[in-house]
């Protein structure tokens, strides 16, 4: 007889997003819709939570995911790498409704990793002597210029994993991994949308990508294959 897995970290989506406060800095995992916690974002869009600073590679698509929060005017600031694919984001930026900070995608990923790894700042060759980093400190090492980039951290991260065990250990599904593991380490509160919660021991110690110590809450997605 198999029992239904029960996790102390399991929460309804509504209870989970209730932990997000006005003005929070919020990381959101995903690249396009792969690995994006759409169920959590749709639930957050039903709340009155506002003035969020979002750190995410994209700002969703029109009316979907972060795109819906944007239309709801729940977002006041966004840090990411590629928002062009959401015309609403471009318009909101042009109209001054949101302030935007663009980072090269690799710098975004590394800054999030640094935030979780206790590294306050690092040097990267990417963007050196380009317009994108014109206000940033530049330093030469062995004759090559590098940009000083600061780590990113957040009050809360909404991420999407594949399977979780009851302790909160996570695996990911193919390219839906993307920004999720690094964000799980870089936020004070980590809420994870998962396809399935399995008993402890069902995930091999070698296949766990995000150990449970990074995970605060698990929310099962209603879409089995999402």
């Amino acid at each position: 007889m198999s029992r239904r897995p029960q996790s102390e970290k399991a929460l309804s989506a509504a209870d989970a997003v209730d932990k997000i406060s006005n003005g929070d800095v919020m990381m959101v995992g995903g690249f396009g819709q792969a690995g994006t916690p759409l169920f959590l974002l749709e639930t957050l869009a039903e709340t009155r939570t506002r003035d969020l600073t979002v750190i995410s590679n994209n700002l969703g698509e029109q009316g979907v995911g972060l795109g819906r929060l944007l239309l709801n005017r729940q977002i006041s600031r966004a840090i990411g790498s590629f928002f062009t694919n959401n015309p609403d984001a471009v318009k909101a930026s042009n109209d001054g409704e949101i302030s935007v900070e663009l980072l090269p995608q690799g710098t975004l990923a590394e800054a999030i990793r640094a935030g979780g790894a206790g590294i306050p700042a690092f040097y990267t060759p990417t963007g050196a002597d380009t317009e994108l980093s014109r206000d940033k400190e530049v330093r030469a090492f062995e004759g090559r210029n590098y940009v000083l980039e600061r780590a990113l951290r957040a009050d809360v991260a909404l991420i999407k994993a594949g399977r979780a065990d009851e302790l909160g250990n996570l695996t990911y599904d193919k390219s839906a991994r993307n920004f999720n593991p690094a964000m799980a380490m870089a936020a004070s509160l980590v809420i994870v949308e998962v396809s399935e919660i399995v008993p402890v021991g069902h995930l091999s110690p070698e296949e766990i990508v995000t150990p449970h110590i990074f995970v605060d809450h698990l929310v099962e997605s209603p879409n089995a294959d999402n």
Partner: protein, 221 residues
């Protein structure tokens, strides 16, 4: 005149021939991603996608075969080749920035005569993103630009100096258009091949950059 489709296919075929067997290649969003469908398995070219895939295979045969968790950097569904693997974004860009990608194939808005690329922002247009382009041009061992020779309005893309914001201070190595192939030699560009149907004169007319011309000029079709 070539149709847009014919131009694209010619550029992709020529770019494909530039890739060495066994090499690790990142395909930029847009025209470059279509290269994945040309790869002959026997050549074991390993396609890297910056969203966390090594071993990108061709597009799935049908919509039912496509998996929303398996997409390329252009957010299109792809497949995985045998021996492929997945990793997170921080690791993926560690590969790129750390010099582990042999070739980045990437699009262009402008390339100047010293090989400097601008490909992320047209001032005044509604662009709000840079993506992975800066990391790729900075970090790949070799940068191969694939682009139409001129803009839609007919303006040269290969210019004396970029008027758009540059992508990196590191110059590109090879430029392939439907009309010509340029290689960077020292500080400048050298026209190394001509697209079938285009004269050297027509390249001078449609190119603002100064360039040298190699002694032999093969033709590609």
């Amino acid at each position: 005149m070539l149709t847009i489709e014919e131009s694209r296919n010619r550029i992709l075929r020529r770019a494909y021939a530039e890739l060495e067997t066994g090499s690790v290649v990142n395909l930029g969003v847009g025209l470059p991603t279509a290269l994945a469908n040309l790869i002959d398995e026997d050549r074991s070219i390993h396609i890297h996608s910056e969203n966390g895939i090594l071993g990108v295979g061709p597009s799935p045969r049908s919509a039912e075969d496509s998996d929303p968790a398996l997409i390329n950097a252009g957010k299109q569904p792809v497949t995985l080749t045998p021996g492929g693997s997945f990793f997170d974004s921080a690791t993926s860009f560690a590969m790129i920035r750390g010099g582990h990608i042999d070739v980045a194939v990437i699009g262009a808005l402008q390339i100047d005569e010293s090989g400097i690329l601008a490909n992320w922002l047209v001032p005044g247009e509604n662009v709000l993103g840079v993506g992975g382009a800066m990391d790729l041009v900075t970090g790949a061992k070799r940068v191969l630009v694939v682009t139409t020779h001129c803009t839609k309005s007919g303006a040269p893309k290969i210019v004396k100096e970029c008027t758009y914001p540059i992508t990196a201070t590191r110059p590109v190595d090879t430029i392939i258009t439907e009309r010509a192939l340029f290689r960077r030699t020292g500080d400048g560009l050298q026209l190394a091949e001509l697209g079938d149907g285009f004269s050297l004169e027509s390249i001078y007319d449609s190119t603002d950059a100064e360039f040298e011309v190699s002694e032999n000029i093969p033709v590609f079709a």
